[in-house]
Symmetry: C3
């Protein structure tokens, strides 16, 4: 159960309410007025909680769960123990996420500008905006309705932020147009100079970075991630793309819609990702590449060539996933053999 | 010698005082009232300084040191030149660290809340707390005695911080319970949302992150490191664990006591490290893994399977260290041979 | 064209002015009074814009550009289409950078200390300094003429910053001496404790970090990069070196002049880079290494041995670039063959 200190509960909800919130099919003959006080994982949920099951990896935990109700796919309904009500969903995790959000709605400060925030007189703020203490909003910035700006965040001059977005503590944004319902987590850096220099024997000469960062709706940017603005064109993040902590996105990168980019990955300048690309953690992409729609890169891949749509790659230099897995298996055996050979040779020398 | 501008000195100390501070055995017939004004490395310490020797790598520097005294292990005492007093310790580096701390105690502002800090009226602060300008402390936060919060740090609602901890400039903490004597370096991000989504063809649906970050006593978290809070359970960092800069720790990770995690390493969600694990820099760990007590990963290892207690691994995918070193040696020779073959072939073509 | 919302224009300039700003040779018989309103890339510049051409990769775009003038090397002047005036430069990109800076000078707040900044009474500020809201400047800090400190940045006690430097939003600096014309991008962390512990079975004992960070003139440090101060000696960054986002530089590292260090690279403690070293993105360097002048490491190299001057390396463990490329080519073929073998074997089993 969530710690009430940090996550106050909005429940209880009846089974009928729960079915509506999470789009669930209730079994026949269940008591639709039965009340549930919260949610929990399979192994620790109590009879007054709702849990969910989606991965077979947790089949054992499902068999012994004490949860009073369990969201499952129709094909798994029969696995739910008799002590738990099987609530059917085509997408159990999505249903559970919706229910979790209903039980624990985001705790939001009352609208208003903290007197210790610094908002330029020429900035335009929509209704319902929250600006917490220490936040600084520059000249002519446009902050949409219900935007929430956390303490000590810095919004530069002329930046636009769409409705219902949330900007984390100590984050900074400049030279950027940001969509609606975007979440920028604490410490993210958006819109600073790209890394562009005319290299030379003497001083490297800085190339003015004259583009912007343009972020679509429903994007999430992780803590301490960095997104540089473009040099001449813009750096673009498509709607619905989610970016994890400490990711680096270089200038002029263009990312499509619905991409998933896991922590500590870096994308070099002018590379383009089409829609639905998924990059594991600590992946690196060279500059000026094109990664096709739906392509996937395993964690720690280093990509130096274009990747075709839907292709899965791994390794450095990245190759087709299937190829790399075979190669890695060969390396594993080879490493063992070489090491044993050495051990034997060393024994022989004794 | 430390720059007095940044590191004022608390000395001088007599040899007798030094022996007590650093738990040293003095040689017979030395002048216990002789005064030393500071510390220094072997190659630049002066006669009024104390130095130390532990690694044979520096044997040459020891032979020519001008330091007036040198902390050494008993087995190395005879190596100390006649111009330097050999001060014996079972752990020379630890002794030296204690002496360094005595000569240069941390320069701490006077207790009190800067009038330009923002502390919620419902927050509870212990005695001796320092809150510097621009720091923001949320509702109901509990700040232990002698905690030091640096400028522009942000402590969220309900966060608890144990006595004598120090929170760096521009760091942010939310949804977290933090032990005593913990050091969070500048810009670290603790307690923000984990990276959890129910992926889909349309929008990826955010899964509410309802866990906390729980940090034990005597932990250090590096600059701009990120530790996400748990999804349902907590993210846990055991007592005495030290974490370097730009490290990423995903949601629900559980780290034991006394671990060492070097810079830019990333640990994926739900992975568990037992006590005393050591991870080199730029290591990556997959999710849901178990790393046994005392295991070690060389820098840049990519770990995708469980690691047994005390095992040492290297490479990607990680294999036993010994195996990888042999394999790498084979690669080195192979790369050279292939390149020479090509060079020869190219010459033949001419 | 740059978005005038973020990048107001200082033009128009005549061809004569442009030739002076960017050190260009004008063709005979051109109208030196013709006015240009801005700059743009080859493919989108209009007749009233100046563009540039340097890489043959863009030869096609040059042939069809609508730009009214194009900066080119003398050897490429004949490639410029007749609708565009060929402006000759020995270094077209540098010339273009200078012109871009003239058309779009950095938009700088008026000098002065924002009343919501916090400047210690003992700090000394030069003429023309800008301190924006929420910035905190510690005791005895020395801020040179025309330095610009952005919102919520934190400058620690006794730090010195040279003239015309700029410190980004939410950055923090302590225990550091910083040169002139240095740019620290938002969220960078400079001068915090290095990662030094006397490791032990019980608690790891922190080793006081008593060195400084010393940064030369004309250095750039990227967003959320981290540079730790030295343990006993200093961490040193030579003049003109440029460092990208999320780079980690450990204690006692010494970097020469004019180095280029791309994003997410990490340099372990006490390693030394001589002048003009270039490190690609996500490179890792072990500790106590020496990297010779002009050496280059390809992206994702992991360097565990010294590198000779002018040597180019790649891979992990890093080997000569040429060797690694051959080896990688072999791996690519091997992975394909192994995978096909398996596919064939699987078909045979059916």
């Amino acid at each position: 159960m969530a710690d009430a200190r940090f996550f106050p509960s909005a429940g209880p909800f009846t089974l009928l309410q729960i079915a509506e919130i999470a789009r669930l099919r209730l079994p026949a003959n269940c008591d639709v007025q039965r009340r549930f006080t919260g949610i929990g994982p399979l192994d620790s949920a109590a009879p007054e909680h709702v849990t969910f099951f989606e991965s077979r990896r947790y089949a054992k935990a499902l068999a012994t769960t004490r949860a009073g109700a369990c969201i499952v796919a129709p094909r798994d309904a029969a696995r739910v123990p008799a002590t738990s009500i099987a609530l059917q969903s085509e997408a159990p995790q999505r249903s559970f996420a919706a229910l979790a959000a209903a039980f624990h709605p985001e705790r939001r400060p009352a609208p208003g500008i903290d007197p210790r925030a610094v908002v330029d007189a020429s900035a335009r703020l929509g209704t319902g905006v929250v600006v917490e203490a220490g936040a600084v909003i520059g000249a002519r910035a446009e902050i949409g309705a219900d935007v929430w700006i956390e303490p000590n965040a810095v919004i530069g001059a002329d930046v636009a932020i769409g409705a219902q977005s949330r900007i984390g503590a100590n984050a900074s944004i400049s030279h950027a147009l940001i969509g609606a319902r975007v979440r920028i987590l604490p410490g993210a850096r958006i819109g600073q100079d790209g890394f562009g220099f005319a290299l030379g024997k003497g001083l490297h000469q800085k190339i003015p970075q004259l583009g912007r960062v343009v972020i679509g709706d429903d994007v999430e940017v992780g803590a301490n991630a960095t997104i540089d603005r473009g040099a001449m064109d813009d750096t673009v993040i498509g709607a619905g793309t989610v970016i994890d902590n400490l990711v680096q996105i270089g200038h002029n990168v263009r990312i499509g819609r619905g991409c998933v980019i896991v922590a500590q990955t870096g994308i070099s300048g002018s590379t383009r990702l089409d829609d639905g690309v998924m990059l594991g953690g600590q992946v690196g992409l060279g500059g000026h590449l094109r990664i096709g729609a739906g392509a996937q890169a395993a964690p720690r891949s280093g990509i130096i060539r274009d990747v075709a749509p839907s292709e899965a790659v791994m390794g450095y230099p990245a190759m087709p996933l299937r190829h790399f897995l075979r190669l890695a298996e060969k390396w594993r055996r080879e490493g063992r053999r070489l090491s044993q050979g050495t051990a034997r040779a060393e024994r022989d020398e004794d």
